[in-house]
Subunit: 584 residues, 2 copies
Amino acid sequence: MYRSHNCGELRASDEAKIVTLAGWVQKSRDKGFMIWVDLRDRYGITQLIFDEERTPKEMMQQAQKLGREFVIQVEGEVIERASKNPNLPTGDIEILVSKLNILNTAKLPPFTIEDETDGGEELRMQYRYLDIRRNPVKNSLIFRHKVTQEVRNYLSKNDFIEVETPYLIKSTPEGARDFVVPSRMNEGQFYALPQSPQTFKQLLMVGGMDKYFQIVKCFRDEDLRADRQPEFTQIDCEMAFVEQEDILNTFEGLTRHLIKEIHGIEIADFPRMTFDEAMKRYGNDKPDIRFGMEFGELNDVAQHKDFNVFNSAELVVGIAVPGGNFYSRKEIDKLIDWVKRPQVGALGMVYVRCNEDGTYKSSVDKFYNQDDLAKWADATNAKAGDLICVLSGNTNKVRAQLSALRMELAERLGLRKPHEFAPLWVIDFPLLEWDEDTNRYHAMHHPFTSPKPGQIELLDTNPGDVKANAYDLVLNGNEIGGGSIRIYNKETQSLMFDHLGFTKEEAQAQFGFLMNAFEYGAPPHGGIAFGLDRLVAILGGQETIRDFIAFPKNNSGRDVMIDAPAPIDDDQLEELSLKLNLKS
Amino acid sequence: MYRSHNCGELRASDEAKIVTLAGWVQKSRDKGFMIWVDLRDRYGITQLIFDEERTPKEMMQQAQKLGREFVIQVEGEVIERASKNPNLPTGDIEILVSKLNILNTAKLPPFTIEDETDGGEELRMQYRYLDIRRNPVKNSLIFRHKVTQEVRNYLSKNDFIEVETPYLIKSTPEGARDFVVPSRMNEGQFYALPQSPQTFKQLLMVGGMDKYFQIVKCFRDEDLRADRQPEFTQIDCEMAFVEQEDILNTFEGLTRHLIKEIHGIEIADFPRMTFDEAMKRYGNDKPDIRFGMEFGELNDVAQHKDFNVFNSAELVVGIAVPGGNFYSRKEIDKLIDWVKRPQVGALGMVYVRCNEDGTYKSSVDKFYNQDDLAKWADATNAKAGDLICVLSGNTNKVRAQLSALRMELAERLGLRKPHEFAPLWVIDFPLLEWDEDTNRYHAMHHPFTSPKPGQIELLDTNPGDVKANAYDLVLNGNEIGGGSIRIYNKETQSLMFDHLGFTKEEAQAQFGFLMNAFEYGAPPHGGIAFGLDRLVAILGGQETIRDFIAFPKNNSGRDVMIDAPAPIDDDQLEELSLKLNLKS
């Protein structure tokens, strides 16, 4: 036993006890006749004291040499502290050390192990094991553990069974983004790593498992961007004998449970919004509804005047920025530059100041009078003191642009409060979406998603109008989960593959195993998958997932602490392997 | 809502309720005027009744056409059953059906969906989704879920944090059995799949996580044999500031908790045995101690007579088979053939019958008198009515042979009771083992294992004698877990690599990241890993792991229900991928 207590648990009530602690030297203060050391472990910090009068000289000398991050073990008496520290749970006491044992020395760390560190991102990633010692990262990992435990407990209590599905699977047509795994021991065989356990969980439903979940790694071989990992973790769920309503209720329950358990916040029934409505009101299928700034469509009130930019536009749409009239002319010009950046892509922006006296001042006063502008204010729900920002153009593009502006301004105005939670179901997604590049329809969710009842006939005539039994759970402007009610008979599944451009042979070769299974008594079923990394980050009030992953990959996909992967030399590896005989 | 109740929950107290059920047709009995249907779901079976008097004619005709494994939904009244079935929890009631809805038809399954099926192993694997509907498989998967939940709850309560480690890692020298994963999107980069998260969990200890666990998939690219999977699941654990004693106590606690929760059996302190003792007493480092039949070494009492086979042997060793004197001469000859099979490899076997009258009759009466044989009986602890089996030869070989015989006979005698649990710690493993093929020492556990205190000096002079801080947890003759106290400073780790034949450069290139981390304040640490698949199977009283894995791979490593993996054609995959636009 290296310790009788951890560094976070001793209190005034423990005074006079002889205890043993072990941990890291956070810092030490040496006043010559007295030395104080902050000893740290995962659980907290306890102050140690050495003093000339009571500590043997040799130990004083040893204590003087303790450097930051040395690993030590001490035995000593819990005594009352002269100057108490009310900010530390252990701040009433200190340990008068009687035995000191240096377990390991430490080089000076390349950055300070403090909540606010002087280390940059790259350095902290390179020495991730030191970064993990810092409270923000350590607590994020503990937080992730608690969230996943809560998820498992909630689902288990609700009769879900966690079933492991294979990681080494047959490569399927998601293939271009599949990681491919050749087997060297079984030559000529290839596996792929799953992008999701989709077909396996459907087979489990055919197998009668009724309610399945799994917290599972998924893999996608794509260009790596910041905050994107080639491996990510999913809470994957599927239920049999359910309709959309059952799924929404079940996972609304899970999400409400998590927010309640973690933050003590009770959330009422989650609002629901169709995809069409979300696009119209927020220009986005994952709107952040923690704040308003809803879109006001202005075609009726802004077109048919002399302003040709609007007259020729498919959509004229604006938002009211609360209190936005405080922006100076210069600041508004900067905003206009912001929407014209290539990442946003607007050609320009019209604005209207809503003055406190009820008058309006716009950048298009030449074309619109006060009555016209009052109608704009009405449509965008603008109040005195607000600023109306108006964009125009192609419907899809202008919605995306105005949504980007809405989010940017909300961020600047502090309306995206990290510890406020506003979940939202977005439902009735289109089944198919048109792809400009390939000039064809694609499955918007995936090809196993069922169309809304009675709409399958539309596939031939108006494929873009067919709605799917598909839904996303949105939290604070992020898609945290998405799913659908699945097709569960062979004919419909086969028809769907036809419409996606598969030949019968291709469909059978790739998904025959699933369609064949549907012939042996498949129940109606549906499910949902949550991105755990993102869910945890949002519940933790953070924008980025990186702190919640113990060993994130850097932007080139490499493990942050381990040298780059290298091409494999079989002979060399085999020789090394024989030397090591690694077992477990 | 497809159902108001599941098929396992209705009781006599529910009589007169109108309920909706959904499930599979287990079987139906058609008496013309009356039709009974057993409706099955994950939760149980409920009997449905249709009868001429109360059921509309059209529905009677529909009901007559219900085939096995059809998926149906019914509404009806819960009524008292005429002939009750006390073997079924729902056996007091049946449902008088008023609405019948066929949700899906089913082809005739290729084997019966019964506890005792007529389907062979291969067929059941091919149609695994049908096999999973059978109680033995379904219950095994549920059992696995319960065990893993209990493991997580126990460890969480004991301050362990589950941390996910990467699946896409740098290939390390275990390399020859690593699956290698080329990245197509990031050309020229290779990952490997981990054989275990060993180095990552050690880095977490350096990072101060203190107590870590993870239930995690591990991968090994080897020749596939029966009951061996290229991917397997591990309960992986590590603790900082611990000695061997702390680890043994913690995981003895976990194992005791599991056996208590699952079987209601209280197990006292687990016995401990050194590796040397286990080899001497059982010829095996994972002895099944549910029964005796301990080895009795006979060199002292059997050598120096005229029997040259024994005189020239390094070891003469026997076991007493309880009640084994009932074996006929023919049966004993068969036993001798059994030990002479190439899989066992003995050259022959000497036996002694212990007659009820206290006399002995042996196959070597020419060389040994009754007094001699009495000494053999004494050494093997044989009683009247037993049979003593004696083998001789090279110590290691003869121990392995006699251990195989001991297990075989125990199996035949019914001494390996599946629902009796006899855990055992085997400790003090050798640090290194000699490998005949490569003519050098290898790490017996792995190269991160620490030698016993004070023994590191022996590495130069008597490497084979150095004992490690390594331990295995054995349950019913199976190694279910193994681990060690690790090296935690750079010098010792570097020295270890020297002794394993690494050059400084090789060691630094492969494990530099770990040794460097040790320089920044690594705490003493150690851990253990359990094979979940095997643990679950043994706790479930089974010999094979296959029923506890939803989608086991067949002997060529292919998923049982999905066609063989095939070489990848990038162009084809890319085209298919564009068609599908798979998302989640």
